[in-house]
Subunit: 120 residues, 2 copies
């Protein structure tokens, strides 16, 4: 509740423990954090990227597995992955030549609960 929160928190962390959307009016700050998360997810390419990574065996996928699924240039895919990573929805790990992305399922679970949980 400080006047200006430190920017070291990713949107994902801020959403971790919020009352569901339908229970009480969201604060402005909370709305901005959640909106940032949703904005990262609100793109067809990024949604499919998240889905591809999350449903991939082992829960992770390297970029080479992903680019083939789209008719887009590699830099564009890289850009979208960066967006998802910066918001905290994807984890990055470089192993040898390849970079592996892993979905943060708790983040998705928290976000889903915040949106979908019914009012008591």
């Amino acid at each position: 509740m400080s006047k200006s929160a430190p920017l070291t928190l990713t949107p994902v962390q801020t959403v971790a423990c919020c009352a569901p959307l339908s229970r009480e009016p969201m604060s402005r700050q909370q709305a901005e954090q959640v909106a940032a998360l949703l904005k990262a997810l609100a793109d067809p390419v990024r949604l499919r990227l998240m889905s591809l990574v999350a449903s991939h065996e082992g829960g992770e996928a390297c970029v080479c597995d992903l680019t083939d699924a789209f008719d887009l240039s590699q830099p564009t895919i890289s850009h979208h992955l960066k967006v998802l990573h910066e918001t905290g929805l994807l984890d990055r790990e470089k192993r040898g030549v390849w970079v592996y992305y892993r979905a943060r399922t708790e983040a998705l679970a928290n976000l889903g609960a915040l949106i979908g949980a019914a009012a008591p």
Copy 2:
């Protein structure tokens, strides 16, 4: 699974019965529909509007209840409500002079489940 789905379906309806994001890779069409929904929700003002309406007593609120909560012009609020209504997240009903909006909680529940449900 038809080649081109009829456009009479709102995004909300299309999302009603989808496998969760983490279970299997989303199709392009599904991704576009879900992204449209998320895009409608991925704005701080619209998020707060949804939250205000959903958590309001009776599950509905008239526009006059909403405009006061923002430092925005009335047309801007009207615009955001229209976006939420057109995607199927809000229902509209005119009663006398006032217009009441009601949150479609099943739509929110479906969307939340699609995002947050863990892989089996």
